[in-house]
Symmetry: D2
Subunit: 294 residues, 4 copies
Amino acid sequence: MTTIAFIGLGIMGSPMAINLVKAGHTVSGYNRSPEKARPLADAGGRAAESVADAVTGAEIVALMVPDSPDVQHVLTGDDGVFAHAAPGTLVIDFSTIRPDVTRDLAAEAAGRGLRYLDAPVSGGEAGARNAALSIMVGGEPADFAAARPVFDALGRTVIHVGPSGAGQTVKAANQLVVAATIEALAEAVVFLRAYGVDLEAALDVLGGGLAGSAVLAQKRANLLGHSFEPGFRIALHDKDMGIVTSAAREAGVVLPVGALVAQLVASANASGDGALDHSALLRVVERLSGSDRP
Amino acid sequence: MTTIAFIGLGIMGSPMAINLVKAGHTVSGYNRSPEKARPLADAGGRAAESVADAVTGAEIVALMVPDSPDVQHVLTGDDGVFAHAAPGTLVIDFSTIRPDVTRDLAAEAAGRGLRYLDAPVSGGEAGARNAALSIMVGGEPADFAAARPVFDALGRTVIHVGPSGAGQTVKAANQLVVAATIEALAEAVVFLRAYGVDLEAALDVLGGGLAGSAVLAQKRANLLGHSFEPGFRIALHDKDMGIVTSAAREAGVVLPVGALVAQLVASANASGDGALDHSALLRVVERLSGSDRP
Amino acid sequence: MTTIAFIGLGIMGSPMAINLVKAGHTVSGYNRSPEKARPLADAGGRAAESVADAVTGAEIVALMVPDSPDVQHVLTGDDGVFAHAAPGTLVIDFSTIRPDVTRDLAAEAAGRGLRYLDAPVSGGEAGARNAALSIMVGGEPADFAAARPVFDALGRTVIHVGPSGAGQTVKAANQLVVAATIEALAEAVVFLRAYGVDLEAALDVLGGGLAGSAVLAQKRANLLGHSFEPGFRIALHDKDMGIVTSAAREAGVVLPVGALVAQLVASANASGDGALDHSALLRVVERLSGSDRP
Amino acid sequence: MTTIAFIGLGIMGSPMAINLVKAGHTVSGYNRSPEKARPLADAGGRAAESVADAVTGAEIVALMVPDSPDVQHVLTGDDGVFAHAAPGTLVIDFSTIRPDVTRDLAAEAAGRGLRYLDAPVSGGEAGARNAALSIMVGGEPADFAAARPVFDALGRTVIHVGPSGAGQTVKAANQLVVAATIEALAEAVVFLRAYGVDLEAALDVLGGGLAGSAVLAQKRANLLGHSFEPGFRIALHDKDMGIVTSAAREAGVVLPVGALVAQLVASANASGDGALDHSALLRVVERLSGSDRP
């Protein structure tokens, strides 16, 4: 079993760290707001006092924080991982951040004798709790192999997709597809409702054919019940769409629907729905159509 | 068992008519180009000489033709169904056409003592061959119940979604979702390829999480192999997106992504890819990005 | 001077008919709501009792009504123009309607020995009052020449753009460009306001360079003052964008921005702003951005 | 008269520097490729050997370079402006770059006792040659007043739009409006051509009404003649649209049409048209519509 530091114990990080404890690993967790470390401590982990405290003695340092600057701060800050991790430590960044930032950090890690994997996840809070995440990993094959037991304790679909940064690229593509699928379903729902169709029956048909998707299966209740407890928050998906569009620009790739969906997610966020589940894109379409829920 | 006239024996209609024969029904099929009736005849059906010939003696008249004007012509023409069907005959239109045209034709049918269901399908050629279609039905519940054995011989998901026209409305919503999902995946593929990610692995991850969809499962080989034999043709999906956008306009519903995707499907059609599978939306994204397949 | 029947005395038609009186023509005006004929009568025209009454004795029959079905009704109805106009009468349709409907009506007119020009206008209520409209005319050159004195009493830019229907096509293109320009300016205004820039100074710069436009010059006060008295109503522009998108679809032309702008105009309409000036597209952008006017 | 260093003597910078000479100023110009300094030298300016050489003794340092990193390099590099400019020197950055980078550089300049204006321009090569640029200036009013003689030698519309960065913000808004206007006209042209309308007459009408714009006046010949010599290059407009979309994201502003137009400009660039005038957006619309120029 492995000694693991886990930095970032939020809605995703906390259940992930707990699943690592359950799998038999020794886990020291750190979170800026210390009360968020309590569930981990209750589950048998240790609440560390600082990043340095968590990292000391760890063979693997896992991160799950919101955005690129957070990862940069946790890794390169004075009290950061790079300053305190022993040579040879394997850093696994589960956060979803910009692929170019990932590549820079991986290079800096290598320069300090550390190993680095980017391993963003998909599957939301439910996936984190149920150890059913999809994990898309970029980095050296040997490091991937070494991290395999950790990944297997957290996810169901664990795939090495390429060199450093590739995990983030695949995650970006994932978020593009997810947002577009939610938006398409939201538009379909508003359309069907306007025509007075039996919406439950209609979604049954859609779900049984080529229009079927994991989004439809998992977000159906949200769309039908107009209930948007996260799940995965609009504010985070908005951040991710910023990654998608800037990464596409860097690569000279044209994403007309991706760019438009990014604007609609930004609209959800700007309209004050940032804390709702991303299925609340439905509310953007409803506002555009001047329709409120009956 | 039932005596059925089947008008329109194309890529979809022919295997559907054959499945009705296999289910024990007596089927007279008619197609404008008579050679398309041969597979039905070989399977034990009868190749009719005309719509009138097919319709005479039929308890159920099924249609599967390309567009609104075709349905209008087959039903209301001088040699049409309405002119030759016996009172009480149940007309089932499997074609995908405009909901408002459907409602008008259903009203006219009622005026002539005929019964009418709109029953557009989803699932493509494979679904038609394997009797695995999704069928979304609009019309009277009693007529739906009467047609149930026919539907069950053709599809796996058969759902009554509302009154006359509702089937078409749901089909329009289905086509919106399918096109948007294909487009999103096409954008993801071009994005991932630009970053040199392992594309097969990446699609495995996407397919295993919230980005998973029937489109990804069924069109994956097309996208990876850049092979676009239909399946479901761009030209037909273009027609369907015209139905979606005009029906949305009629209902005062705003579909930003639907409208944009409609333009991209129109672009595929305008660029000469009308006869390819709708997964050829990938080629639109590639042209926009100035990338050809390696 | 000419005897003219003028059907449709609304916000546009009334000042146009009055300008024809001022130019010395004999004008009989008809409007469904008879009180709308009063300004014309006060200006020296005649308020007719019916279409037939207006048309009888007229050398030219002018129409200015809202939409395709209105034109069809006024022309082909039992009390309509075609039923009462003397052979050789020149029908001039100033309405903005679908090019295909125009071509059908022109053909029907020709079959009855009537002449027909489509002559949609641009310039709004101010242009109508000040005889400063742009008029885009489709039809026979000889008919255009004959109608020239009428056009010159109404507009400043009067151009024959092609055969029957061409006027409507150019008007559709005009409405596409105008809506897109308003939308782009609306987005610029919300963007500039978010950055706390001196908005008046900023619009001065934009107006002085390549971003300058008639829209900016004429709608600047609306955008700055957030005052949206029409001008040209959103509901009419929404109708026009429906013409643009369906005409583009018919011609196999792909208009990504046109299609998206059409959705945004539809959103303005669906949100209850149909009676406001089309510069109220600003309110759609504000809603999307979650910003109200300070 | 003033002693001016001018860094960046490209398609825009060279005629601007020459106009400063013509206005009686003493100008030392520097360009990385030294042969580009020849026209300035021929016109009576001095070709400097290095940034340091140009800056030494200058009261004003003007920059006109392509992008944010270029400005950063010229200002903050070892051989850069900040290292060699005397305290009190006024730096005027005519480049179009990110507003946030501008604000950072202005702060750094202030820390070194330098004054700083951002003064991006609009009007293209022709505007630069004819001293007819629009100049949008951000910074201290006193610095703006001091720079006035320089601005007046270069532009016709010179406006102080706010504090540091405001010039860049207004320029971003300008580029958004210009690109959207070009795209709308390009779509209109393809639409009109598909209908066989007299295109010159049609553009006359559009130009005479609410669809009229500086873009239509100045780019009409490009659109009609399908000739795309710059003018203002697609590659630069693509860079600018990246600034627009990222600045909008930073401010939480939703720009649906801006985002889509950015993708279309990116498509022009990705398709190999980066060196053409931005009116070559027409070619994107033509490719989408499968139409080549007749």
